[in-house]
């Protein structure tokens, strides 16, 4: 099978998965108890059953489920998820603004986490101090949950030292405030990624270093740096790539606790709130974006193996 056919197959399977997720979520969220209008009106003053019925009609909830599912799938073609019940805005607009925050957070955290992890992992193989630092801090960082780490950082930095905001987001139009708001959440998210990646990198380097092609390369008299970069690191990075893709894909909807601690308007907290209020359009839209992101990252990772290791696409 050629590389193109391999990519084509992966993409088709991915599309089928995205659509299946939409149908499953649609059915699941409507089967569980809870009514969006009742949930929303529970905050309102005295509202009788008659008003609730009128609002159900407005939201199209009086239609039979197959009709609603069909409408949803048709809307999906134009990325139209409908109007959010609680926010009375198009769900796609709300998701777009939340997605920007999540993507920025996830990409920056992944970048610093993965780059930092590879550097620390490599360093821990190459010198004693690195090894000690790694073996001491690695397990500690991995064992602290993100929301605890976030709370500790808030206590230490904004509340005790008075540096950086204690949470919240600033618009892109104010880039300095924007970056200041992101520093602590990124550190919180990047630390465990760095620890995981460092661990995998270290393990793989130790593994690859003992291979015979490394010995051959050294025997040819190539400089250590060249051997390390060309023969050790490149081979060691394939599993690191897998882990990175999984970390990155999983992160997009899973930053919810860190979003909560730092009061960031990301996709994770939006989804949790939407589920609580049974805001169907918002749930479908957020799940669509998260599943598409996750599946795409995995397809990209699969295709990249094809490049890094041509044997994969031939299988």
């Amino acid at each position: 099978m050629g590389l193109a056919a391999y990519c084509g197959k992966r993409i088709l399977v991915g599309l089928a998965m995205i659509l299946s997720v939409q149908v499953i979520i649609f059915l699941a969220i409507q089967v569980v108890p809870g009514d969006p209008v009742e949930a929303m009106m529970s905050e309102a003053a005295h509202v009788g059953a008659d008003v609730i019925e009128v609002m159900r009609q407005q939201f199209g909830l009086d239609q039979p489920m197959p009709v609603r599912l069909w409408r949803h799938m048709v809307g999906l073609l134009s990325l139209d998820f409908g109007t959010s019940f609680q926010y009375t805005q198009p769900a796609s607009d709300i998701i777009a603004s939340r997605l920007a925050v999540s993507i920025e957070l996830v990409l920056l955290a992944s970048f610093f986490g993965i780059a930092g992890g590879v550097l620390i992992g490599s360093a821990s193989v190459q010198n004693r101090l690195g090894e000690h630092v790694f073996s001491f801090f690695g397990p500690i960082i991995l064992s602290i949950p993100g929301y605890v780490m976030g709370s500790i950082l808030i206590l230490a930095v904004p509340l005790s030292l008075g540096w950086l905001p204690a949470g919240g987001m600033a618009p892109f139009s104010d880039p300095i405030a924007h970056m200041r708001a992101l520093i602590l959440p990124i550190v919180t998210l990047a630390l465990p990624i760095a620890a995981t990646i460092a661990k995998v990198t270290r393990f793989e380097i130790l593994e690859v270093r003992s291979q015979d092609w490394v010995r051959t390369s050294r025997a040819y008299g190539f400089p250590t740096r060249v051997t390390f970069r060309r023969d050790i690191l490149r081979n060691a990075l394939t599993p690191v790539l897998t882990i990175s893709a999984l970390e990155l894909g999983g992160l997009i909807g899973a930053t919810v606790l860190v979003e909560k601690v730092f009061n960031l308007p990301g996709l994770g907290s939006l989804l949790v709130q939407a589920v609580n209020m049974r805001d169907y359009p918002l749930i479908q839209g957020a799940v669509f974006v998260i599943s598409t992101f996750y599946i795409t990252i995995n397809i990209v990772a699969d295709i990249m193996y094809g490049f890094l290791d041509p044997r994969v696409s031939k299988r």
């Binding site: 609002m55 609680q86 926010y87 709300i94 939340r98 250590t224 909560k260 009061n263 308007p265």
Partner: protein, 517 residues
């Protein structure tokens, strides 16, 4: 290996540099330079989406509504009704009101507000399809006459002594014609501030509106609402000086705020929590069993467990003593007395091994904690309560369909007069706040009779008859009034938490009185 170590130093230098830069950014970028500009930074407890006209979307949206919009009347810092868009108002009789608008009223976009504008707004809210928060008050709207551009005569088909209070509700601002449609955005109003920018899900930037009728009294140049849905994140933002004011301080954070020397914790007895009964099922179809519960549960425990001690235990109907129609006996209906509870259970024939389902929600910790405290008290009188704590949407759906024996509930009435009781005594499904299947016609008749009276003493006598039935029949069981707190920097002046139920619906009106020292 030597070359490698050189590379490593470079990396380390880079890292150190990056950290240094981050630290430098943190240290040298000044924060809180707004004070001189009189911009109040307000940490708000929920995201506010699009403002739409009519329906209630919770307390955070009330506060924003009160800055953008303005109704005919509003509340002052004591919860008294004062003129707003109407420069004067009077009750012609118990079901007819007249309003005279101020001269030259304008919306933020400069378009005029005349009697016909107000008429269109109120008629829109009186349409059941809108699902307006004040629909119950306007459902009896008979006619609105506009004899001239500045005069309105509102006629109701039934007397409603609280009609004017409803007109001060945060969801009763007068809105332009473009906002009077389902889902239409409603950002142009007649309030003290107008929208400058809306950072979706993050913040709202409001600036002082030069069209506001009372603009000379407004000292702030603007208000920046920043959304902090998480309670401890909100408190942290205040402690760190990121914001000047926060609403809805979490009870667990009261001490943290009080310990900070430069902050004010402004707490008042606010909304209340209560218990509902499923009247359609044994054993709570029997008033004796409901009375037994009223004596079995210790409100002090609810306050201690659910509100960290920050609340007021209730043994009757919660009501502000400032209200003209208040009577102290309304608050003395029951009392903690487990022996009496056991006797009542014996009398009802359910003294042994009564097992019930207690519905609460895991979404709000005080709901869950309140149920836990009740569970212990019920156990002490021999009732085995099994907790059912689903998420909020499941809870509301079970409540509406009677999927419970006992259920906990929360109430934040929008009016302070005794008429508010009606929403809580009328049973579900007719009222989403009431006990499932309760027939409240006897109580409602007395409340309505009270509402028809213009004389407070005569009205009070009718309300007391209604309250007496509540005491005997226990259609719902109020347990505690929770402490509702705002917290703010001591540089903020003129802002104040309005006491009682109006903490939720009236305090938003105080922002226009605030200034920053």
């Amino acid at each position: 290996m030597k070359r490698l170590s050189v590379m490593k130093i470079h990396r380390r230098t880079l890292l150190t540099g990056a950290l240094g830069m981050a630290a430098a950014m943190a240290t040298f970028v000044p924060g809180g330079a707004y004070a001189a500009d009189q911009i109040l930074k307000f940490g708000l407890s929920a995201n506010v989406g699009n403002l739409v006209y009519g329906p209630s979307r919770g307390a955070a949206q009330f506060i924003v509504n009160q800055q953008i919009h303005r109704g005919l009347v509003k509340f002052d810092e004591n919860g008294t009704l004062v003129p707003a868009l109407a420069e004067s108002f009077k009750a012609i009789d118990s079901s007819t009101y007249s309003f005279t608008l101020r001269e030259g009223l304008k919306f933020h976009d400069g378009s005029p507000i005349e009697a016909s504008t107000v008429k269109a707004s109120l008629e829109y809210l009186a349409d059941k399809k809108v699902g307006a928060a004040i629909y119950s008050a306007l459902s009896t709207l008979e006619s609105i006459e506009t004899p001239d551009e500045r005069t309105l005569i509102v006629k109701l088909s039934k007397p409603n002594a609280s009609f004017l209070e409803y007109m001060a509700d945060p969801n009763a601002g007068i809105s332009p014609a473009a906002a009077l449609a389902t889902g239409a955005a409603n950002w142009i109003g007649a309030g003290p501030f107008k929208l400058r920018t809306n950072e979706n899900g993050v913040s709202l930037d409001l600036v002082k509106a030069d069209t506001y009728y009372d603009k000379d009294e407004v000292k702030l140049d603007g208000v920046k609402f920043v959304f902090y849905p998480d309670s401890s994140a909100r408190t942290n933002a205040l402690l760190a000086g990121d914001v000047d004011v926060i609403d809805f301080v979490g009870w667990e954070d009261f001490e943290r705020v009080e310990a900070a020397g430069n902050l004010v914790l402004d707490a008042v007895p606010g909304p209340f929590v209560y218990t509902m009964f499923n009247i359609k099922r044994a054993p709570f179809d029997n008033p004796k069993v409901r009375q037994a519960i009223a004596h079995a549960i210790k409100p002090e425990n609810v306050v201690a467990v659910a509100f960290y001690g920050h609340g007021t235990p209730l043994n009757g109907i919660p009501m502000s003593p400032n209200n003209d129609r208040y009577d102290p006996s309304m608050g003395k209906l029951w009392g903690y007395d487990p022996a009496k509870a056991r006797a009542l259970l014996t009398e009802a024939g359910v003294a042994d091994g009564l097992k019930i389902k207690l519905l609460t929600s895991s979404t709000y910790s005080f709901f869950r904690d309140m149920a836990l405290s009740m569970q212990a008290d019920l156990k002490a009188v021999g009732i085995d309560a099994e907790l059912d704590a689903p998420d909020w949407a499941t809870y509301t759906s079970q409540k509406a369909s009677g999927g419970y024996d006992l259920a906990v509930g929360g109430g934040a009435p929008s009016v302070a007069g005794p008429v508010y009781l009606q929403a809580y005594v009328v049973g579900a499904p007719a009222s989403s706040f009431g006990s499932y299947g309760y027939d409240a016609s006897a109580i409602v008749a007395h409340i309505q009779a009270g509402e028809a009276q213009s004389d407070n003493a005569t009205a009070r006598a009718e309300y007391l008859k209604a309250v007496q039935i509540v005491g005997e029949d226990v259609p719902f069981l109020p347990l505690a009034q929770r402490s509702q707190a705002y917290a703010y920097s001591d540089r903020v002046e003129g802002f104040k938490n309005v006491p009682g139920f109006l903490s939720i619906t009236g305090t938003g009106y105080m922002i226009e009185k605030a200034s920053i020292r």
